[in-house]
């Protein structure tokens, strides 16, 4: 971690006559927030694209209660965050006109911005100019037209009632007029034990021509529910943005708060956070590899993998108090210290599981029935992956390698030499290969940390920042980068929480991957991404 202010992006923007002003109330300084003029918004995104930066997120916020102007009005802001492999993250902010809030779309430069811009329209009522897709996203059709969930004037405390006149309105799916093609609607309630969402397939014969996602079914108002919580109450909520990446989400939230408050956690705590996060990575990869094989009727792998996953859950319960590691992080550190005996137990299990996985991997690689299904299925090309900014293992399978453990190099990853598997073919088999590799790498990391676990405290006392201070953090969860921006309000409470789960971007990857794939292969391809519905819908 460096304390130096990162001026690279501001200078590049300056080269193109985009004036930017550094905002003092944003932390950390190596991921600065710059205020730009509204007129420069789309131009700045264009420059970022030219600089080969990756779009992290686009979001909006109202000024906090502490920031109300003399007439009692609150300013509206939009933010966008970019990341560069060498020059890290930079945030841009601009203020919108209060009477007529509108902003130019940047979807022409970054297609992944489209759904995020639709969320801005849905939850703030900000008009996005020149957007390629004007349909509602999280705000389903039955919501009353004037319901904007994140505006302070909106009554967020009572359940929203459907507008009976709007209940019959259908979402406009991409149509297909061909007589040879037919539509298959699936969901929101799916056939298995999974989350809800709607998929609309347009198929010709057996092959998928186009698949369109309609998500938002599990929208739980998480961003709004965070408002007014203390950091410890907030952490409990953040840990449940997506249950399978509870460590990743809790870490991202905690780190954003810790950056905002300018506190540094003890190195023992950061080592333990690393152990928790990598255990989560291993458990999810193992579970998913089993499930992918199960979708291709290779039940043996599924049974073996779910056995290993259960072994991990049981040790998690014994040592960290929760089978899925929920609430194992606290603000300023971690909740549980571990004794040398526990440390040995984790090391032993990590070794055992890594060995077992290698054995299973050999069997998987030598079984033609599964190999025939996974090789060449569900390909996302390198160009497409770069275009949408595909994250995590899915990106790494498609020749796009953003990994915050290396780029942002936050503790404890700054002390390790991290190898990332560099896949190129971008199909199901490559994603499985990347996952196998990551299990091996994560195992080595866990053992390296635990063998050199520093002594000392596991928590730094929390001192809340002043009202108006914001922090931004980016954590590499098992699924990919989780970005969190949090601003503090009065009385040490959280005033605004924005989170971007990697699924918000990787869902686009799935849409691209299933084109020309036979319909029965969809579950296989879907499982190889395993995007979170809850993390996307918030």
């Amino acid at each position: 971690m460096t304390a130096l202010s990162n001026t690279w992006f501001a200078e590049r923007l300056g080269d193109h006559a985009i004036h930017s002003q550094y905002l003092e109330d944003h932390h950390p300084t190596h991921m600065p927030c710059l205020e730009i003029r509204r007129l420069d918004w789309a131009h700045a995104a264009e420059e970022a694209k030219r600089l080969d930066m990756r779009l992290v997120a686009v979001w909006a916020t109202e000024a906090g209660k502490h920031d109300v102007d003399a007439e009692g009005k609150r300013a509206l802001y939009t933010y966008m965050a970019f990341a560069h492999p060498e020059h890290r993250h930079a945030l841009l902010r601009t203020e919108l006109s209060a009477e007529n809030p509108e902003i130019h779309s940047i979807s022409n430069h970054y297609i992944s911005a489209s759904r995020m811009e639709r969320n801005i329209q849905d939850l703030f009522g900000i008009h996005v100019i020149d957007t390629p897709d004007n349909r509602q996203w999280l705000k389903h059709e039955h919501w009353p037209e004037d319901a904007y969930g994140l505006r302070h004037t909106f009554d967020s405390k009572t359940p929203l009632l459907s507008d009976p006149e709007r209940a019959a309105i259908d979402y406009e799916y991409v149509p297909c007029d061909s007589e040879c093609a037919y539509e298959i609607p699936v969901g929101p309630v799916h056939a298995g034990i999974i989350e809800p969402g709607h998929f609309r397939f347009i198929a010709v014969g057996e092959k998928i021509l186009n698949m369109e996602e309609r998500l938002g079914y599990v929208h739980k108002g998480i961003e709004r529910a965070m408002k007014g919580r203390t950091v410890s109450e907030g952490l409990k909520l953040a840990a449940r943005v997506s249950g399978d990446s509870t460590v990743g989400h809790a870490w991202a939230f905690a780190q954003a708060c810790e950056y905002a408050a300018n506190i540094q956690i003890p190195s023992r705590a950061s080592y333990l956070r690393g152990v928790l996060c990598e255990r989560e990575r291993i458990a999810n990869h193992i579970g998913d590899i089993g499930a992918i094989c199960n979708d291709a009727a290779f039940a043996f792998m599924h049974i073996q993998c779910s056995r290993l996953r259960e072994d991990m859950a049981r040790l998690n319960k014994g040592i960290f108090g929760h089978r899925l590691l929920m609430d194992s992080l606290i603000i300023g550190g971690v909740a549980h210290d571990i004794s040398p005996i526990m440390c040995q137990k984790i090391i032993q299990q990590t070794r055992d599981i890594a060995d077992e996985v290698e054995r299973l991997r050999d069997i998987y690689a030598d079984t033609p029935s599964i190999q025939q299904r996974v090789i060449g299925a569900g390909i996302v090309s390198i160009d497409d992956a770069k275009d949408i900014g595909l994250l995590g293992f899915a990106g790494r399978a498609s020749g796009h390698y953003p990994d915050e453990r290396i780029e942002e190099a936050y503790a404890p990853y700054d002390e390790l030499d991290i190898a990332i598997p560099e896949g190129k073919l971008g199909g199901v088999s490559t994603r499985v290969w990347v996952r196998f590799e990551e299990i091996a790498h994560a195992s080595r990391m866990i053992i390296a940390w635990l063998e050199n676990l520093p002594k000392g405290d596991i928590q730094t006392p929390w001192i809340a920042p002043e009202a108006g201070i914001s922090g931004f953090a980016s954590i590499e969860s098992w699924r990919g980068e989780i970005a969190v921006w949090a601003r503090f309000g009065a009385n040490e409470k959280i005033d605004r929480y924005f989170v971007r789960d990697p699924s918000a971007i990787n869902w686009l990857g799935l849409e691209l991957a299933v084109r020309t794939v036979p319909v029965p292969d969809f579950p296989l391809v879907n499982k190889s991404f395993n995007c979170s519905y809850s993390g996307n819908d918030l």
Binding site: G192, Y217, L360
Partner: protein, 168 residues
């Protein structure tokens, strides 16, 4: 193939035996008896995630793993509500999932048993009832026979919940 067989024999049977004093197994045998008596040995469950964080789904998957092997008691998860004896609901009910939940419930045949799984199903959990995007907990939307608490409930808790629903 030899390696597959080798792996299978090396791991052996890990499913925990019924006679053990283990709480799960005791529950299992009671559940087995209840399902035999009431459903002729087969209880079909349809899961609806009405807004969960997916933590509950992970534990339902775990209940199907070789350690717990919930299927040996006659419990299996079905794809259609049309032949489901029980509806298992996770999560607070989001306003966007309310209609889908009601439709699934309506599509079920009698006796329409309903089990709410997790603190969210019970009382909306960390997401809160005072939330615009949440229509309410499960019993606010459809009749519920029993609730299993936990965040998320463990596979053992789930078995207990299914048993309690059958006994209710």
């Amino acid at each position: 193939m030899l390696r597959i067989l080798h792996q299978i024999f090396k791991v052996g049977t890990i499913t925990e035996p019924l006679a053990a004093s283990n709480q799960f197994e005791l529950l299992g045998s009671q559940l087995n008896a209840a399902i035999k008596q009431q459903f002729q040995g087969s209880l079909a469950i349809r899961l609806v995630d009405a807004g969960s964080c997916n933590g509950c789904e992970l534990e339902i998957h775990a209940a199907n793993n070789a350690y717990y092997d919930i299927e040996r008691f006659g419990v299996h998860f079905t794809a259609s509500p049309r032949f489901a004896d029980m509806l298992l609901v996770t999560g607070p009910v989001s306003i966007n999932m309310k209609t889908a939940l009601e439709m699934t419930y309506d599509a079920m045949p009698a006796p329409k048993l309903v089990l709410g799984m997790g603190d969210c199903a019970a009382n909306c959990g960390v997401f809160g009832k005072d939330n615009y995007a949440i229509a309410g907990n499960v019993s606010d939307i459809i009749p519920v026979d029993s609730i299993v608490h936990g965040c998320p409930p463990t596979p053992t808790d789930l078995i207990q919940g299914i048993l309690a629903t059958l006994q209710s």
